[in-house]
């Protein structure tokens, strides 16, 4: 037996998942399922798409229409699905490497077009599946197997990137703040346009060991200590929170949605014929 949420939304014969003990991805995947469940979406109208990486194993476990695609290209496949069938609720599950390195171009252009896709980025600051190489969100001075003397790169703030590129809903949640993350994912799905949720995960196996972060519990507690909600931060002077990671909803706006605009062109020619 398992909980109703799990048995109703997951492929039970595929569980338990392959993620390491204490991996934050399981918490985020459950949060996504909970958000879909709370919104009472028709399961046959939900399509979950992923690329490659630890995060991208998720659609294999989720009992919806699912697609596991090539590295970095989840948003490209998802764009095709959404244009072919705009009635589908298309949700992309991607990782920090998948989405912001090899798939970075797809991210900025899906954001720019404001196509009705919800992207949940499982951000563990490392390439876990291939053995702990640093990613575009690995913090400066952190260690990875390809940064044995400390990372000299500066990390992306993916929320700011998506915001600047034109996404209409942008938020950051964490595996520690799972209840808030569920609410954020619900709102991101409800947004009629491109939504980006930066979901902070933990990788105790690679990022944790390389950077002496301790157990998964220690890493989740560190998330609690290093984050501050944007609503709280707004009431404080900058020096009180300048070293903290902001979480919460950063942007929730309305702009014309891409597939709706595309349909208007089709309708125009149908009339002329």
């Amino acid at each position: 037996m398992s909980s109703e949420l799990i048995s109703n939304n997951f492929r039970m014969d595929k569980l338990p998942h392959i993620w390491c003990p204490g991996c934050g991805h399981g918490i985020i995947m459950r949060s996504l399922a909970k958000a879909i469940d709370n919104l009472k979406l028709d399961k046959s109208k939900v399509c979950v798409v992923s690329g490659i990486g630890c995060s991208s194993r998720a659609p294999g476990y989720m009992d919806f229409n699912t697609l596991h695609t090539t590295h970095g290209r989840a948003l490209a496949f998802a764009t095709g699905i959404k244009l072919a069938n705009p009635d589908l609720e298309v949700i992309v599950i991607t990782g920090d490497g998948d989405c912001s390195a090899i798939g970075g171009n797809h991210l900025i252009h899906a954001s720019r077009r404001n196509i009705g896709i919800t992207t949940i980025l499982f951000n563990n600051n490392i390439y876990g599946m291939t053995g702990g190489q640093y990613s575009p969100t690995t913090p400066n001075k952190s260690y990875g197997t390809t940064a044995p003397f400390g990372n000299i790169d500066k990390p992306f703030d993916i929320c700011k990137l998506a915001d600047a590129a034109g996404a209409t809903y942008v938020a950051r949640g964490t595996a520690y703040h799972a209840n808030q993350l569920i609410k954020i994912i619900e709102k991101s799905i409800q947004n009629n346009g491109f939504s980006l949720v930066d979901a902070i995960s933990v990788c105790p196996t690679y990022y944790g060991r390389k950077n002496k972060k301790g157990s998964s519990v220690d890493m989740l507690n560190e998330i609690k200590d290093m984050t501050i909600d944007i609503k709280t931060a707004e009431k404080l002077p900058l020096d009180k929170y300048k070293d903290k990671l902001l979480i919460g909803e950063f942007k929730n706006t309305e702009q014309p949605e891409y597939t709706a605009e595309y349909q208007k062109i089709i309708n125009r020619f149908k009339k002329e014929r």
């Binding site: 909980s3 993620w19 003990p21 204490g22 991996c23 799972a178 157990s215």
Partner: protein
């Protein structure tokens, strides 16, 4: 509110200890690297364990006959 009962699916537990750490009432422990309910009577059914279990191995079951 329907009655709830704390349940464990031991085959799925990977022994990460997240549920043990975030239980506010010290209901849980790890025994032989798997989850064990050591003090069921103290459980307040808050669901913190279920919320953050990455492996869906602990949950609150809603009982049918609950009022």
């Amino acid at each position: 509110m329907s009655a709830k009962e704390l349940k464990v699916k031991i085959e799925w537990c990977k022994g990460c200890g997240i549920c043990v750490a975030f239980c506010p009432k010290n209901v849980l422990e790890l025994a032989n690297e798997k989850i064990n309910i050591k003090d069921k009577d103290s459980c307040i059914k808050c669901g913190q364990c279920e919320l953050r279990c990455p492996d869906y191995a602990i949950y609150l079951e809603v009982l049918d006959d609950g009022k």
